[in-house]
């Protein structure tokens, strides 16, 4: 077994190879048109990757959160059109933490928990009514997990998707973000351990998006370096022009920054709450994706504006993920409150020490 603080390189290599084979331009395009990609999902599920970091007793594949985040980074890098985060470190995590048995199929989760739902409780049974918005891949999910808070306690309710009404919606990348209606659905809700609540769930969601975004920005940066070295104008590759080099350098910086932030946050989350690191990493990923998509699109000229060229698989995902599990305003305001609550002398120790100085 590898050191728990490092990713097993076998995971990186295997996932990278798998997605390189499955997620070519046409397959991603087709998944978008079809609103799902069952072949990509089954090949992915066959490896057991979706359930990494969930213990084998709960029906998972074992391994650490770091391993799972590495797979997500590669999902982002290859723009793999699959609900990897939802099935694994979000929905799967909630279910296994609550002692629920994982289904063999896709799991998804209501990003906003029970917000906007009417929940009635009778003993261990709950009745849920109302509408869940922007639920990733609900249309193909076997189970929909709703994290909810009742009387100060947090529960995970696992709902059979056939008991809900699902209307198709997408994000800007054409990934399913469905509307789910519940009408007096009876569910069993299992109590979650005290360290998991709606706030920590939100951070977990943000962590999943930083890993995906770090991968996508890096691929976008590499794609742009390659494209501009091939594209010739005025008798030389456009990458030789300084104005273009500026876009390349800025794109590469944001790729490095977002990946560093995602990996540092992952390392901390693998040990404990990591609230500071996750908030900072999501804000960094949000802003880095804004800058990098702009630079990379500019360096591609008109080609980047076409469906036939793959840049949009990455850029449209980044524009979408930037707004999922907290946009810039939410995280800067959370971090700002934390920063200002330190006195001036505590400000730098917060930067060097992170969550450890908050506890």
């Amino acid at each position: 077994m590898s050191d728990a603080s490092e990713v097993d390189t076998l995971i990186t290599d295997t996932a990278d190879r798998l997605f390189s084979q499955l997620c070519d331009h046409e397959s991603i395009q087709k998944a978008e048109a079809d609103g799902q990609a069952s072949d990509i999902w089954s090949a992915f599920a066959d490896t057991g990757f979706p359930w990494i970091s969930i213990s084998e007793e709960s029906g998972g594949s074992g391994g650490t959160l770091l391993d799972a985040l590495e797979v997500l980074r590669l999902v982002g890098y290859h723009a793999a059109p699959i609900p990897a985060a939802e099935t694994g470190i979000l929905g799967g995590w909630l279910m296994s933490s609550a002692g629920l048995e994982l289904p063999s199929g896709i799991v998804t989760v209501l990003p906003n928990g029970s917000q906007g739902l009417a929940v009635e409780r009778t003993g261990d049974r709950l009745t849920i009514s109302g509408r869940g918005l922007r639920v990733p891949w609900a249309r193909v999910a076997e189970t929909i997990v709703v994290p909810l808070e009742i009387d100060g306690q947090t529960f995970a309710a696992a709902i059979d998707s056939s008991e809900c009404q699902i209307s198709r919606m997408t994000n800007m990348a054409g990934e399913p973000r469905d509307t789910v209606d519940f009408e007096n659905v009876d569910v069993f809700a299992a109590v979650l351990p005290s360290e998991i609540n709606l706030e920590t769930f939100r951070f977990r969601g943000a962590l999943s998006r930083t890993a995906l975004m770090a991968g996508a920005i890096e691929k976008m940066s590499q794609l742009t370096v390659s494209y501009t070295n091939d594209r010739v104008q005025f008798g030389r590759p456009v990458a030789k022009f300084q104005a273009v080099q500026q876009h390349l350098v800025w794109g590469a910086q944001d790729a490095a920054l977002a990946r560093m932030a995602a990996e540092s946050a992952g390392r901390e989350a693998n040990r404990g709450p990591a609230l500071f690191e996750i908030a900072a990493a999501k804000l960094i990923a949000n802003q880095a994706s804004a800058r990098a998509t702009k630079a990379c699109h500019q360096a591609h000229g008109a080609m980047g504006m076409t469906q036939e060229y793959p840049l949009h698989h990455l850029s449209r995902r980044l524009w979408s993920w930037r707004k999922e599990y907290g946009g810039d305003a939410e995280w800067s305001s959370w971090l700002g409150r934390v920063a200002v609550a330190q006195d001036a002398d505590g400000l730098y120790p917060l930067i060097t020490g992170g969550s450890a100085v908050l506890s």
């Binding site: 390659s226 350098v249 920054l257 500071f276 690191e277 920063a339 006195d343 002398d345 930067i351």
Partner: protein, 394 residues
Amino acid sequence: MNNRLSGETIDMRFTPTELSKQELELQREVRGFLLEELPPGSHEPCLGMAARKNKEFSLKMADRGWVGMALPTEWGGSDRTAVDRFIVVEEMLRWGAPVGHHWVADRQTGNVILKFGTEEQRERFLPAICRGELGFSIGMSEPDSGSDLASVSTKAEATTGGWIINGTKIWTSGAHENDWFVCLLRTSPLEDGNKHAGLSQFLIDLKSPGLEISPIPFLDGSHHFNEVTFNEVFVPETNVVGDLGMGWHQNTTEMAYERGGPDRWLSPFSTVEQLLREARGTDLEPVVSDLFGELIARWWGIRNLSLSVARLIDTGEAPSVESSLVKEMGTRFEQEVIEKLVHLIDLEYSPDSDSLFERLLAQCVVTFPGNTIRGGTIEILRSVASKGLKGLPA
């Protein structure tokens, strides 16, 4: 050593790293030292590496083994790592400590002498550097050679026992207060098509006869820059650093030490910290609070990148592309921080405001345009870095 200075064999990667127990211990020790020497509120913080010179302070740091700390013990150093040096420098800069006296010697000159100098030069200079005694200047730029540094024309001509130097260096920070400077000089005439050849590095006593130092007032009237003219200045043979004609290579190596460290992203920190100190007890407007959130996130991210470069240096690499990327990003960030403060905080700050925050902010506004110029402009850095960027895997 993997020679990555050429920018050819690149597999760019910033690996996350964190401080070990001993390294955290050093961080605590440095913080304790600063708390004692410069209690918050007791001193006017300096803005990063453009710090005041305070020899007494440098001597005290040297007493702790924090000047030239990465140099071998046999030359008076502490044989510490690049990461240890990172920790000390980071704490000094965020505190706004007056590190100006030993700054250049500690960051680059000591390394150059260790790497390329003769045994005699090491003996003569390194222990004195590590004691915090010697202040060095950088003699690269000339009136007609800025970004195109290889075009320098200040000449050294061989004579008995040494060299005679004629020409002019410019923008020399601190030459009026320092003891020595390392100069890049032309030792054989410019060849067509090979301007990197024929350059050599020299150690020059700033008190040498024939050497004249004249101030070039900085835009705020302060004395920072100088013009240094050489009029038949004699420099003994023993002051040539490294091999004749290898100056360009040595100089490039020296620049790699200059880049990517905390001095490239911490300059506005004291100002931001002071804003929070003065705002204590008052409610900050949400937009200002949000700005704090954004800034600490960025500082956290950039610091992690910069720290990973130091770690890489400790494995024997010269990560020139990585450090150029960090420097380019870090210095732009420094300016962005100040622009954001200026945008949000509606005060008519001035260099003699009663409020320390306002004084610092005024100083940042006026001096920070230089941050993306000194040590190589960001335009030049981008040219260097872009050649080492990775495209799609084959």
